[in-house]
Structures are given as C-alpha cells and as structure tokens.
C-alpha cells in the first residue's frame, strides 16, 4: 500500500518565450484515511527524501524531517539538480538513508490500519499565478520488475484553439536505476488504428508530450486518439494551459487505469480482452 512520489520536471511550454509549467508536491505525515480510533496510533517522525537518477545510481539531493501531523511542499525548482533529471520523493522512518542507492528502498507508510485509499501527495502545477492540483501517487508495486502494459486516450484534453495546449506527462519508475529499457508508445486513431505518432520512452523517466501537436483537438470527441504501450506502464497526467492575453488558466487530471471500468472478481478477464483489442504490439 506504500507509494513513491515522482516529481514532474518543470517544462517550457513555448519556444518563443521561457514560460514554464512548474511543479511541486505536498506530502504529509498523517494517515489519509483511518479509523478514528487509530488516528494517533503512530506518531513517529517521518523523513522525506528526494533521489535523482544519475547514471546507474539513485543519488540523494533532499532530506527533510516531517513531524507527525505536519506537511512539506517540495518544489521541483528548489531541488539542486539539472532540470532534465528524474527525481522521486520517498517517505521513510529511517533518518539515515544512504546518499547513493543501487535499488530504491520501499517507502514507509503513514497508514495505520487497512482503511481504503492509497497514500497520496498533492501534485501541483503552476503557471504564473494559476495553480491546479490532483491527488496522486506511484504505487510501490508498479515500480517492481513486473511486466505491465498501458492504455489511455486523449479525451481529457481541453485545448480548443491556438491559444491553448494540452500536454501528456508519462511517468515510469523502476526501483532499479539500471533499468533504462526503451518502450514504444503509439498514438493512433481509434476508428481505424492508423498511426499518428510513435514515441520512444525510457524506463525510469518522465516524458512531456504536446498532444496538441500530434492530433487535432476536435477529433477527441468523434475519433479519439488512443495511446498504448505493450511493454510497460505509465502514470498519465494531462495538463492543459490556456493563454488569455498572458492571463493563464491551467487544468490537470489523469485517466483511470482501464481495470477501473470493471467490477469484482471477473474484472481481469474483461481487462485482458480490452487490452488485447487495443494495445498495439
């Protein structure tokens, strides 16, 4: 049930100026869901570490204590690392985590019972004075060396004219820093499976893709673009910005994993069928 919290890179939205979408995460030392009687069961200090991927090591670049009941906001811009480096925040009750790691340690959990809902951070995206947020996480199990696949679609895009753009942020994390496999991500028309774009994304990376440059926003209604990968999975985050004469609006959301379309014990049969229909090999 424990979670990693990858921190999205800040990225420039336009080559004409240096305006960027910046990110931060807000993390807590407090159970997000608990029986009331258990709420104060565990009151230990927790330490939030940030490691970034450097060659074949996870290298520590941030460590901060968080007392019970408190929170931290970790801004990407305040991490003293190159802007393209992949960074991940990890909670731990151990205050002496190593400076360099061959394998990421398992995150500690602030949960103190079996109440549902995974541990989450607030993912915040900024542009000028506008901020948009969602509650998200990267489940520990997804960072293990298992084979997964990926299915999403562009219906969450909100771009509607030349003044707005939608970006897809694909996040993949593996505990092992040596994992740098290349994965083919296909963007294709759902109506006839004609390929619009093939993008290579590496394991252990965050990739920002401008969807508005790949396909027309109008098509997302009648003929949505499907986005698939047969060799790994990603957390897909859709960020749209709109420029109203330099007053910016920003919006973020992620698509559900496809398993969420089904309920109960038989859901995996249906999921298997759905994936075999749509995931291009």
């Amino acid at each position: 049930m424990s979670s990693y919290f990858p921190i999205p890179n800040n990225f420039q939205i336009c080559t004409r100026n240096d305006l960027s979408i910046e990110s931060s995460i807000t993390v807590f030392n407090y159970p997000n869901n608990s029986l009331l009687r258990n709420i104060n069961k565990k009151r230990d200090k927790i330490y939030y570490y940030v490691y970034f991927l450097n060659n074949n090591k996870w290298v520590k670049c941030y460590q901060k204590e968080c007392v019970y009941g408190n929170y931290l906001e970790i801004k990407r811009s305040e991490l003293n690392i190159p802007k393209e480096m992949f960074a991940v925040a990890i909670p731990s009750f151990n205050k002496n985590q190593q400076d360099e790691l061959d394998i990421l340690f398992k995150p500690s959990s602030t949960k103190n019972d079996m109440c549902p809902v995974a541990e989450r951070a607030s993912y915040n995206f900024y542009i000028n004075n506008s901020i948009t947020s969602f509650q998200g996480e990267y489940p520990y199990e997804l960072a293990l060396d298992k084979r997964y696949s990926f299915f999403s679609f562009d219906s969450l895009r909100l771009d509607r004219d030349v003044n707005s753009k939608t970006f897809l942020i694909l996040i993949n994390l593996n505990k092992d820093p040596r994992k740098k496999d290349f994965h083919k991500v296909y963007f294709y028309k759902s109506s006839n499976k004609s390929l619009l774009k093939e993008i290579i994304v590496r394991s252990n990376s965050i990739k920002n893709i401008c969807i508005s440059d790949i396909c027309e926003h109008n098509n997302s209604i009648i003929d949505p673009t499907f986005i698939t990968c047969s060799s790994t999975t990603f957390i897909p985050i859709y960020v749209t910005i709109q420029d109203d004469n330099s007053n910016y609006q920003i919006s973020v959301e992620h698509t559900h994993p496809p398993a969420e379309m089904f309920w109960g014990e038989t859901k995996y049969k249906s999921l298997k069928k759905l994936k075999s229909n749509w995931i291009l090999k």
């Binding site: 029986l35 009687r37 509650q135 759905l274 229909n277």
Partner: protein
Amino acid sequence: MKNFIKLVIGKKLSRSLIFQKNKKYIPFKLRSLINPESLYSDFFILDTNIYKNIFIAENIFSLLNQKKIEVEHKFRFYSKEGIFLSSKSYKSNNYLSKIQLPEFSNQGSYISFTHESIPIVKEYNNKFSIPELKQTTIQHRGYSVFFKNKDSLGSIVHGNFGAVSPSNIRNSGAIIRAKTYAYTPSYIFKNKNIYHLVFNNPTQKNLKIEVMGINLLDNKRNLFKLDLNPMGTNFVRVKDFEGKISFYSKLPICRSIIFKNPEYLINNENYDVFHS
C-alpha cells in the same frame, strides 16, 4: 493455506468469512462483492451555477467488442435533498462521448447524478456478445468537466466513488458502517482562495459528516457539520482558512470534490476542481 481453506469450505463461504473479518475497512456490501449487479455507477456532482457541465462517458460495450455499438448514455439526477429529479438520455456509438448535461436552476448549488450506458440493439443487451465475458460487471466511472463561465478553460475530475445501482438504488454497493473514519486529503487549503467542499451520499442511510481543521492563521478549530439524505448532496464553504482539513463520518471512504474559487465574482485564473 488460503487456497486449501478455499478448497475445503468453498470460494463463496471463504470470501464471506474474510469479508466478516475485515468489513470495518470495506466500504461495500458483501452482496455487491459476491453477487454484484450488472453495472455500478460512481455518484457524480453537477454544479448548477456555472456556464456548463460536460460529462466524458466511456462506451465500454464498444471498447470490449472492438467495434462501434450504439448505446444510450442515461443520466439520472438527484436533488440536494436526494430526491430523484429526472433522467436524460443521449445516443452515441462513439468509443468516448463528451456530453453537455442539462441545466438545473432552483436546485441549490450542487446536485448529483449517475451514469449508465445501455446498448440499443438487443443482441448486446445482455452484457456482451463474448461468451467468456457474460459475468462482467461494468463500473461507470467517467469524467466531469466544469466550465465556470464562457471563457473558462474547464476543470476535470474523474469519478471516484459511488457503487450506485442506477436502476435500483436499493441494490447499490456503498454502505455506512458502525465505526467512525477520518479522511484527510494531502492538500493545504490556502487563505487566498475560497473553497467549496462538496459531498454526496451514495448509500441508503443518512450520512453525517463533520468537516474539521485547525486554522493556522489564528490556531482556532473550525468545525462544520453536514447531514446528507440518501442520494443527497451538500457543501461546506471554506474562506479565510489556511491548513489541512479532515472529514469524519461512518463512510469508510468519505471524500469531497474540492471546488477552488468557484464563485462567480472570482476570475478564472485560479479556478480548479479536484477530488480529495
């Protein structure tokens, strides 16, 4: 060992025993897990005061059959008090549809609705034409898009809880338990914003919620109480507050949709809607 026990006492009995042991952590009825309805819907929120509400609906029949199948996307709307207001249907064979929802004036600020899709052609009506998927139970999640005014970019929220059986709400899956739970979103509310924390009640019993936070501006405790009828909707307005907020109730997953700066006079720049 687990498999051995399952073999000896049978799958359903074994699941019932595990359920009984852990039920205080499970937000669903046993029946919905061992003998589910053919479909469940999340319980979505509609803002009656804004320019428009759009719903992004998945056509799961088309996606599973890998061809366009015409379905009726049916929405059932419930008032703030939980009274059924009306239903509205839209036909489409698209894999995904963006549907503008009807306007509801004089219904308070927020109401709730369910979504289901029903194939028009009978051949697909009894679940799927694929034999091995006859037992599939569909979960309608979908996405709500809120446009505050004509110039608004829009803000999206995915469905996050409900387990409502739209055609017979007494068979819905969500349940209120005997224990009290505390849910705390990992979000710091900021003094410069106004928030509406909107809750709805997908269960068949009244839901009492206490919304509580210590305001870091004056170290005082702020407490709001809500009492929601079954299928009802209500909200707490948060202003001049800085800090974290918790929700206390007997629903094992009780989380609001957070509307940041939804009020008309505040400009679009910092409008946001997200689930907690």
